[in-house]
């Protein structure tokens, strides 16, 4: 069977993809090129003097021990956000898929957090964990557990992971739910008749058939954790205590928008871009092989 669509006209395909290409060029390639250009310059904050400094901005970064540490922080943070975010969303989607009454309400509630701005999500969780008024910190205290995200690096990391996962869970949920609903019921019923347990059915039928969705979400979540979480971190921990929650993208944000060091910030964003490109290529080469379309 021929899967390709053939256009008779030569220019029609180009016209059809032109709007999307324009969006990509203007909003992705143009800023990326600007970042590359900025990363080899040193400017004063108002941009009145500009000097070409070559790779100096990059050199400085790799001599900075705290910058190198933030690679590790970012790896831990991204791995946690992606794995916890995906597993929780999958669990919720499987459950929501089985609900018979009030599906609309459940789904709406689960999709809700996606509509909330990252900074607001951060502040929301901060309020719950802040001492002495926070609900969660109060509950933890009465259970005899100590919680201090201001000074305990692990607590701070837990806090930003929770906030970042919560923010992204709706998105993951939506795709998992759609994926689950596209799995033919007949397959599952046949397996059930053959005596396969619920867990067995999930593991051997549902999960493999979901693998394209899971793979797509893995890529999206890694990109999310790498690029889009700076507002959450800024609103909750400011990268502290010390630099314990200062991820690469938070550093880009801090140096660019708080410290107004455009060259340094651009150099970091170039490095971050390279890291994410490499990660995405790796994912496509190694993880995608296990995906069954």
């Amino acid at each position: 069977m021929e899967k390709k669509v053939r256009f008779k006209s030569r220019w029609l395909p180009w016209v059809l993809i032109a709007p999307q290409m324009a969006v990509i060029l203007i909003f992705f390639f143009w800023p990326a090129a600007q970042a590359l250009y900025q990363s080899v310059l040193a400017q004063d904050i108002f941009g009145t003097t500009t000097e070409f400094v070559g790779l100096e901005n990059f050199q400085r970064l790799f001599h900075d021990a705290t910058y190198l540490e933030s690679f590790y922080t970012t790896a831990v943070f991204s791995a946690l956000v992606a794995t916890i975010g995906l597993s929780l969303a999958l669990l919720l989607a499987v459950m929501a898929n089985r609900v018979l009454v009030g599906t609309g309400i459940y789904r709406t509630l689960l999709i809700w957090p996606y509509a909330i701005a990252p900074a607001v999500a951060g502040v929301l969780w901060l309020f719950m964990f802040a001492s002495p008024m926070g609900v969660v910190s109060f509950a933890l205290k009465s259970l005899g557990l100590s919680w201090n995200q201001l000074l305990n690096a692990r607590d701070a990391m837990v806090l930003i992971v929770i906030a970042a996962v919560w923010k992204q869970i709706s998105y993951n949920f939506l795709f998992f739910l759609a994926g689950l609903q596209s799995i033919p019921k007949s397959l599952i019923e046949a397996a059930a008749i053959d005596g396969a347990s619920a867990w067995h059915r999930f593991r051997t039928i549902v999960f493999p058939l979901l693998s394209p969705t899971t793979f797509f979400l893995l890529v999206i979540n890694v990109v999310y954790a790498f690029f889009e979480t700076f507002a959450i971190i800024d609103a909750t921990t400011h990268g502290g205590p010390g630099k314990a929650t200062s991820t690469l993208v938070y550093q880009v944000y801090y140096d660019g928008f708080k410290a107004m060091d455009m060259g340094g910030s651009a150099a970091q964003s170039v490095i971050l871009m390279v890291v994410v490109i490499v990660l995405t290529v790796l994912q496509f080469r190694f993880v995608e092989r296990k995906v069954q379309y």
């Binding site: 108002f46 941009g47 009145t48 002495p132 400011h238 990268g239």
Partner: protein
């Protein structure tokens, strides 16, 4: 069809309305003022603009709230790069060195006043305040607007509970240790907390003890200044805080002004922070409170000297039409009038900017009716020394973040005081070197 007509009518009426609104505005010159005064203070800023606008008809000052201090500055930088900067910009004290170094971007207030032909007498301003914004050549670069300084607030109810005299706040750090111990014994979970770690415990601490925070008069005399806050005196003080933190006498409650809430909520009994916190404490605190000076070490020669200022000043941007500068000059002159400046001081708890405003406030009996409001003023109205005049360092925003980061390592027990302060000085000096290199061409 009906729908289309309705839409046409709506658009037409909107256009007419815009034209009517725009007509009188064209007669006056608009001066755009970006500021960072949110909450109760936004009302104060809007009132200032409104009263000025009503006092004359040629100029109209339009205040625009741009978020926090750093957000306002970032927004102004972005706007300048895009070619539409505001006329007047409020910049916090740590941005002073950066603004000063941007000579092509800002117009010194002295120059604004001179070109507009408005008389301007720097000597009428409070020296410790205006000195901060004065260039080495004597030019006043920005107009002091809302200056605060570091003071100590204490909860009188908590003092009574601990059997302490509520009218006797601790004066020295030795007193502090006794008071904190007694507060803890009476059941306080947080005897002492502080906001603005770097500003209160290192910057103001240094000038209060007439000791340099950085060389060259804390950077006031040149770009090649380097940090010195790992001196024996600083090590002694931060070391004490480390010890008190371990003994649960001092509690760290986060960066910037986060700790204010812990005092206002009644959790912490003593709090050091900005004198500008006064309005907040008075409005939200459900207890009797007192204000006092920062504690000091009695055996240090020259202590207590004066505390350092914080807050913000107003900067004028270059590249505007000439009539804008006339309007700005008149507006600045209005802000500095004794009765206007005195009202601002009494309303906000910020320092009076002129000596006349201070005298007027004193004469009105305000300090007697509101005990403690003069603490900040008396800490500031002193003859300053080369070491206490102010702190002016490049990349200061980042240096403060580094100090926060390194000191957090002390409170969490990962580093000792010496390691943390040495690292902070080293990391901070790298930033000063870069600033010097970038701005000395």
């Amino acid at each position: 069809m009906k729908f289309k007509f309705f839409r046409f009518a709506a658009i037409a009426s909107m256009t007419v309305a815009t034209l009517i609104n725009a007509a009188p505005a064209s007669a006056t010159t608009e001066i755009v003022w970006w500021h960072a005064m949110s909450g109760a203070l936004e009302g104060w800023v809007n009132d200032l603009a409104k009263n000025f606008n009503e006092s004359q008809s040629e100029y109209k000052v339009v205040p625009v709230l741009k978020g926090s201090y750093d957000e306002a500055m970032t927004a102004a930088v972005a706007a300048f790069r895009a070619g539409n900067a505001p006329d007047v910009l409020q910049v916090f004290e740590v941005g002073t060195a950066t603004m000063m170094a941007s000579k092509n971007v800002v117009m010194p207030v002295t120059e604004v006043m001179k070109t507009a032909g408005v008389t301007f007498n720097p000597a009428s301003y409070i020296p410790a305040v205006v000195g901060y914004y004065t260039a080495p050549n004597g030019e006043i670069l920005s107009l002091p607007f809302n200056s605060s300084t570091t003071v100590l607030f204490y909860n009188k109810d908590a003092f009574k509970k601990a059997g302490l005299d509520p009218e006797k706040p601790p004066v020295t750090w030795a007193d502090m240790e006794n008071v904190m111990t007694k507060l803890k014994a009476s059941g306080s979970t947080c005897p002492y907390t502080t906001s603005w770690m770097s500003w209160v415990q290192l910057e103001s601490f240094s000038t209060w003890h007439d000791t340099e925070f950085a060389t060259l008069g804390n950077g006031m005399r040149g770009l090649n200044a380097r940090l010195t806050f790992n001196s024996p005196l600083h090590l002694r003080h931060i070391g004490n805080l480390e010890k008190w933190s371990k003994d649960a006498l001092f509690k760290y409650n986060g960066r910037a002004s986060a700790a204010t809430n812990n005092f206002v909520s009644g959790e912490c009994a003593i709090f050091t922070g900005s004198s500008g916190t006064y309005a907040d404490v008075k409005r939200s605190g459900k207890f009797d409170f007192g204000i006092s000076t920062l504690p000091y070490y009695a055996d240090v020669k020259g202590a207590p000297q004066n505390t350092v200022i914080g807050g913000a000043s107003l900067w004028v941007m270059r590249g505007k039409p000439a009539d804008h500068y006339k309007g700005i000059a008149l507006f600045f002159d209005y802000l500095s009038k004794p009765e206007v400046a005195a009202a601002s001081h009494q309303k906000t708890g910020y320092l009076p900017v002129t000596i006349a405003a201070y005298e007027l406030t004193e004469k009105s009996g305000f300090y007697k009716q509101n005990p403690g409001t003069d603490v900040a003023v008396t800490q500031m109205i002193r003859k300053t020394t080369d070491k206490s005049r102010g702190i002016r360092l490049g990349n200061f925003v980042q240096i403060r973040t580094i100090i926060d980061e390194e000191l957090e390592q002390i409170w969490s027990g990962k580093k000792n005081t010496k390691e943390a302060l040495d690292t902070a000085v080293k990391r901070g000096n790298e930033l000063l070197e870069r600033f010097e290199k970038a701005n000395s061409k």
